[in-house]
């Protein structure tokens, strides 16, 4: 981990010109998204594969069209659209009709990615915006899930299927879910088709951290903030630990934290900014969950944080923690001296011995 931190300037340069090295990162992202199809196929049959394929093709076609229209060369960077399409598809329930993820992917590429400058220059995360678009326009289709272990055919529309709400809906109603935390970890719960395999996502997070595609400066503050928020303000009965566990593992929050928060194009470029960005994302995501209209507001939180990314960089680059630390230490020393003086004074007034406070003299 420390080695990653030491290569700060090199990474900053690489983010100034993302085209130079990003092909490898994109390949890693796609490689890390692939294992999620194993539980998806295991739980829902072949339909998730077809939905993802169609979504990725739509995103790629839109991206290539836009790239040609803007007069740029087609290259490895077009694979970022495939990543966007994969993330959008995996965030959808397996029973969703094909139109929803396709329209979300088209929105992501045509409205959010290319008008703002295309690959590496977009302000907002395209996948988050596409998911937000689908969630706002088709809330029924996005937030009702088929039961796991129902094999779905790859037809145009799934009919006569009893759809369930996810665990997040139960959390939203402030009730303790019936599913145990262990089975949640294994993933046999209704939810988006790619995001329920918590263990697999955690393994992918490790892989991405080792490959330095995902910055731990963002992901760790994000996860810690979510954990701390759920620990401090539990909204379900059953104790703080249960609250933290359910909030972390129910819903696509971990998936989003791994694959969407540290998107190099939309996150702050400096280390301090990245950490503040992770904390902000976690905080906003939890606030959206607790008080938002939808059961999962992560994407809205990420879009707001994206808008503040550059500002965070600018503000935090002015602050030097070393200087702050020296100043804080000096202030602390002054306070301690004053307190010691007061204690000595009162001790002298009382006439008692002030030897008990001799440790303050050293300061």
């Amino acid at each position: 981990m420390k080695k990653v931190a030491e290569t700060g300037p090199e990474e900053e340069i690489s983010q100034e010109l993302p085209q130079k090295r990003e092909g490898a990162g994109l390949a890693d992202m796609i490689a890390a998204l692939m294992p999620l199809f194993v539980p998806a196929y295991f739980f829902y049959g072949e339909r998730p594969l077809f939905i993802s394929l169609v979504t990725v093709l739509a995103a790629l076609a839109a991206d290539i069209l836009c790239t040609r229209m803007r007069g740029r060369k087609i290259g490895v960077h077009n694979l970022s659209a495939a990543v966007t399409g994969l993330i959008i598809a995996l965030l959808m329930p397996a029973s969703v009709s094909y139109a929803v993820p396709i329209s979300a992917a088209l929105f992501a590429i045509l409205v959010v990615k290319h008008p703002f400058g295309g690959y590496g220059r977009n302000i907002f995360n395209p996948a988050a915006a596409g998911y937000a678009f689908a969630a706002v326009l088709f809330p029924k289709a996005v937030f009702s899930f088929p039961a796991p272990f129902t094999k779905l055919a790859a037809d145009a529309a799934v009919q006569d299927l009893s759809l369930q709400t996810s665990l997040l809906a139960a959390l939203k109603l402030r009730t303790l879910p019936q599913t145990s935390l262990f089975s949640l970890m294994l993933g046999g719960v209704p939810g988006p088709m790619g995001t329920t395999g918590i263990l697999i996502i955690a393994a992918c997070l490790l892989y991405l951290l080792v490959r330095r595609v995902v910055k731990f400066q963002t992901v760790l503050p994000f996860l810690i903030t979510v954990f701390a928020f759920a620990w401090l303000f539990p909204r379900i009965p059953g104790g703080r630990l249960a609250s933290a566990g359910y909030e972390m593992m129910a819903g696509p929050l971990l998936f989003c934290g791994v694959y969407m928060v540290s998107d190099p194009a939309t996150m702050p470029k400096t280390g301090k900014g990245a950490a503040a960005y992770g904390i902000l994302c976690g905080l906003l995501a939890m606030v959206f969950r607790y008080y938002g209209a939808f059961e999962e507001g992560f994407c809205f939180a990420l879009l707001i944080a994206n808008a503040l990314a550059g500002w965070l960089d600018r503000q935090l680059s002015k602050i030097s923690f070393k200087e702050l630390g020296i100043r804080g230490l000096a202030a602390l020393r002054g306070l301690l001296r004053r307190a010691a003086g007061m204690i000595r004074k009162t001790a002298a007034e009382k006439g008692g011995a002030g030897n008990g406070h001799s440790n303050h003299k050293k300061v």
Binding site: V111, P115, V136, L137, F138, P139
Partner: protein, 237 residues
């Protein structure tokens, strides 16, 4: 032909700029709030446009009678415009209520909001104060058309997707009824896309239009000069 005459001609021809190259919504981003929120059905959009027409045209007509900029001090002029358009809002509200009774409730605050609108102030300060009444009204008219076209377009698109109807007439039987299209964010995105389209058309159309205007001015100038020469010749004779 002196420079002032050229300017006069150019001003007369720049009347049309309100439609495209100086469009109040798509190019200047004025009146966005009522346009984005209220353009949910064609009837609502039409009600908004009628109300805006009835408020803006007479206001700018009256403003054009202020001769010279110093007749009313600058800080008072804004209040004067708002007061004037609120006077003309009374008949506009009655008219809209008579034509579209249901739309008035749906428009809510966004109809009275037209009184303190930025188009009035912008056009009054830019054109109406220093122009003849007819020019001021013409400028306001073309700006209103520039306001109405995108609003009605957005209203039609949103009505079609939200209920499958156009102007209350059922068109698409298999409509998916996406009532979420009526949310303001869809309006913002629609107007953003339309602004991009308007930029594209304007980039292509404006040079051609300018060329045409210049040609007209040169033609008029030559006609005037020949007329002057003829009159001089007749005087000399």
């Amino acid at each position: 032909m002196d420079i002032q005459t050229i300017r006069r001609y150019k001003r007369n021809y720049s009347l049309l700029s309100g439609i495209l190259s100086n469009n109040p919504i798509l190019m200047q981003g004025l009146v966005l709030a009522p346009a984005v929120v209220a353009s949910t059905t064609l009837k609502n959009g039409l009600a908004l446009c009628i109300c805006a027409f009835v408020v803006f045209l007479p206001t700018l007509f009256v403003v054009s009678f202020i001769k010279g900029k110093n007749q009313i001090p600058h800080f008072l002029r804004m209040f004067f415009y708002a007061l004037l358009s609120s006077v003309f809002f009374i008949p506009a509200a009655f008219l809209t209520k008579a034509v579209f009774p249901s739309s008035v409730d749906m428009l809510g605050i966004y109809m009275p909001l037209l009184v303190v609108n930025t188009i009035v102030i912008a056009r009054a300060e830019a054109v109406a104060v220093r122009s003849r009444p007819l020019v001021a009204v013409g400028d306001a008219f073309f700006h209103m058309i520039g306001f109405a076209v995108p609003v009605l377009l957005a209203a039609g698109i949103r009505e079609y997707f939200s209920s499958g109807t156009l102007y209350g007439v059922l068109i698409d039987l298999n409509s998916r009824n996406l009532t979420q299209v009526n949310l303001p964010f869809v309006g913002f995105i629609l107007f953003g896309l339309m602004a991009a389209g308007a930029q594209l058309i304007s980039q292509k159309a404006t040079p051609a239009y300018r060329k045409w205007v210049n040609k007209r001015i040169i033609l008029k100038a030559s006609a005037e000069s020949t007329a002057e020469q003829q009159s001089r010749n007749s005087e000399e004779r």
